[in-house]
């Protein structure tokens, strides 16, 4: 839990960003990327586009491998065999399902993650110990939080709370889909994997953000809990797997962002129009899925892929954030709804923070060897 404070900082930042880009999109009908190009020029915009395409490709890879890993946990069949099928399923969803349907279905099933929060509460953990851990600042900066997550959770795991696994396996056995042939170590609590309602920025709701915050915080406690439950023999492995699960979920969250450019207004491709109307979009999606399968089949660790994609997105974030901040002040785009002085003060502080993180993140990732 020692890095839980980062989640608070992150949620405030994401609320600010989502509100501003939502306002810009709602008032002007222009998605974030248009604004980047109009304000930063064609060259920077192209660099930004290529960077986000690569980042999204990485998260889609992690998503597909993650999906396959989950099926492995359920069936016991090696995940590499599931990778092409998982990829096909993802592609079919994008190919045929309407965006509004995707958003609702995955949004609602995502709510099932509340189970995790209830689980932690039901465990009656040692709250004061949790709080101590939560309030301790990270030794290394904000950007490194995910990189260090595995390591720190594993190290601290023993001291914090009783096992969530105990709860779910001991009292909630019916929830465990592990099957009788699964090894005990493979049997994980059945946490439904939902997808956050895709945060198209013009309707990024508070509940959604709250859920996202919960989701990224809960598994930390959860992992710690499981580490304790397993005793001292293999805490790291258990925690590792658990955080991996979380990262997979997160990867899936991000991946849908990946294939649907954020904050695209309703006229956008791939939403209500048949595929032939958005040929280039579907061409890029198809190529991305194929490349992702290829990369996943190299047996690359999906957690590592996710970690690197997060490092790179941190490095690229100011390029998106700065134009949005400026345009949220421009009456040509938002009319009378420009930023208030207070919003500007907080948003500018975050701009500085983001630039610092962006500058620090890649050297830190190299220095810490991505938290290994």
């Amino acid at each position: 839990m020692s890095l839980a404070w980062v989640v608070v900082v992150g949620v405030i930042g994401i609320v600010l960003y989502a509100e501003m880009s939502g306002r810009v999109a709602a008032m002007s009908g222009r998605p974030v990327f248009d604004v980047i190009r109009e304000r930063l020029g064609a060259r920077v915009a192209l660099a930004d586009l290529v960077a986000s395409l690569l980042i999204n490709l990485m998260t889609v890879t992690a998503e597909i491998a993650g999906l396959a890993l989950v099926i492995q946990l359920v069936t016991g069949v090696n995940y590499l065999l599931w990778v092409p099928m998982a990829a096909f399923a993802v592609w079919v969803v994008i190919w045929k399902v309407r965006f509004s349907v995707m958003e609702k279905v995955f949004g609602i099933t995502g709510l099932l993650l509340v189970v995790t929060a209830v689980g932690v509460w039901k465990l009656q953990p040692d709250w004061s110990a949790l709080l101590t851990l939560a309030s301790e600042p990270a030794r290394i900066g904000v950007s490194a939080h995910l990189l260090l997550l595995r390591h720190r959770v594993a190290r601290r795991g023993h001291d914090s709370v009783r096992g969530l696994l105990l709860l779910v396996r001991g009292r909630g056995g019916a929830l465990d889909p592990g099957g009788s042939h699964a090894q005990p170590s493979q049997r994980l609590p059945w946490v439904p994997i939902g997808r956050r309602p895709v945060a198209r920025d013009h309707d990024g709701g508070g509940a959604d953000l709250e859920a996202a915050g919960h989701r990224s915080r809960a598994p930390v406690a959860d992992g710690a809990a499981r580490g304790r439950d397993r005793g001292h023999d293999r805490p790291r492995a258990a925690v590792h797997r658990n955080v991996r699960g979380d990262l997979q979920r997160r990867a899936r969250d991000i991946a849908l962002d990946g294939v649907h450019p954020r904050a695209v207004p309703r006229v956008a491709v791939g939403e209500v129009r048949p595929a032939a109307e958005a040929a280039r979009f579907h061409g890029v999606v198809l190529a991305s899925v194929i490349v992702a399968v290829g990369v996943a089949l190299t047996t690359i660790d999906p957690v590592e892929v996710t970690e690197y994609s997060i490092v790179f997105s941190a490095a690229a974030l100011p390029l998106t954030y700065a134009p949005i901040l400026i345009v949220a002040n421009d009456p040509d785009y938002v009319g009378a709804k420009t930023n208030s002085i207070v919003a500007n003060a907080i948003a500018f502080t975050y701009l500085i923070l983001l630039v610092a993180v962006a500058v620090a993140t890649i050297p830190l990732a190299i220095w810490t060897r991505a938290g290994a």
Partner: protein, 240 residues
Amino acid sequence: VRLAQLLGKRVLDRTGRDLGTVHDVRLVRDGPEIGSFGAAFRVHSLVVGGGAIGTRLGLERKQVRGPWPLKALLGRRHAERISVHWRDLSSIEERVVRLRSVVREGTTRVGPSHERPAGATLEAGLQLLDRQIVDSQGRMAGKVDDLELAFAGEPGAPPSVVAILAGPGALAHRLGGRLGLWLDSIQRRLADDAAPARVSFGVVKGIDNHVEFSIARDDLDVMRLERWVRDRLISRIPGS
């Protein structure tokens, strides 16, 4: 001449004094009639000066009030901008634009006509370039990658905006360098003719934070790549 060819050139006065670079081109809507658009935009003046970031970000305009640290840092150069009237241009060369007059330190307006332009004005680089094009049915139809300016009438008269250039062919020249050459050669291979997709400014219906066309995108040259991908790939997959 294309808009992007003017932007970024250095401006020298008659004595060769360097006034800075062309940041933007101010247009005024009093040119000859063009299609259903009506009076065309014609070039009124060049916006010249040093330090381009604030202009590029649009922070220099009065109506943008914040965030104040950025505004204070980048937005205060507006007073130092020089507006050079088109008629004062003596030559447009590969890297520089030469003026007829001698420009003294502190001058902000150069050229014969100091009166306010009659029609609506627009800063082409900031308010037109890179904007989204939307067709008559609300579908996206490319970006304004460049503008084509054409001379008409008496010699020395300012050029007017006759067409929007969109697509990789136009973008390649904007990007420049090796990447630009590479993009240009790809688009030449894909397209039958080498010229970038061009749409007459006469079909423009309105200019807002996007450029709206009065026609559907289907027959536009801009959709070349889209059609290519659709016909060769997407329409062959079941369920498309």
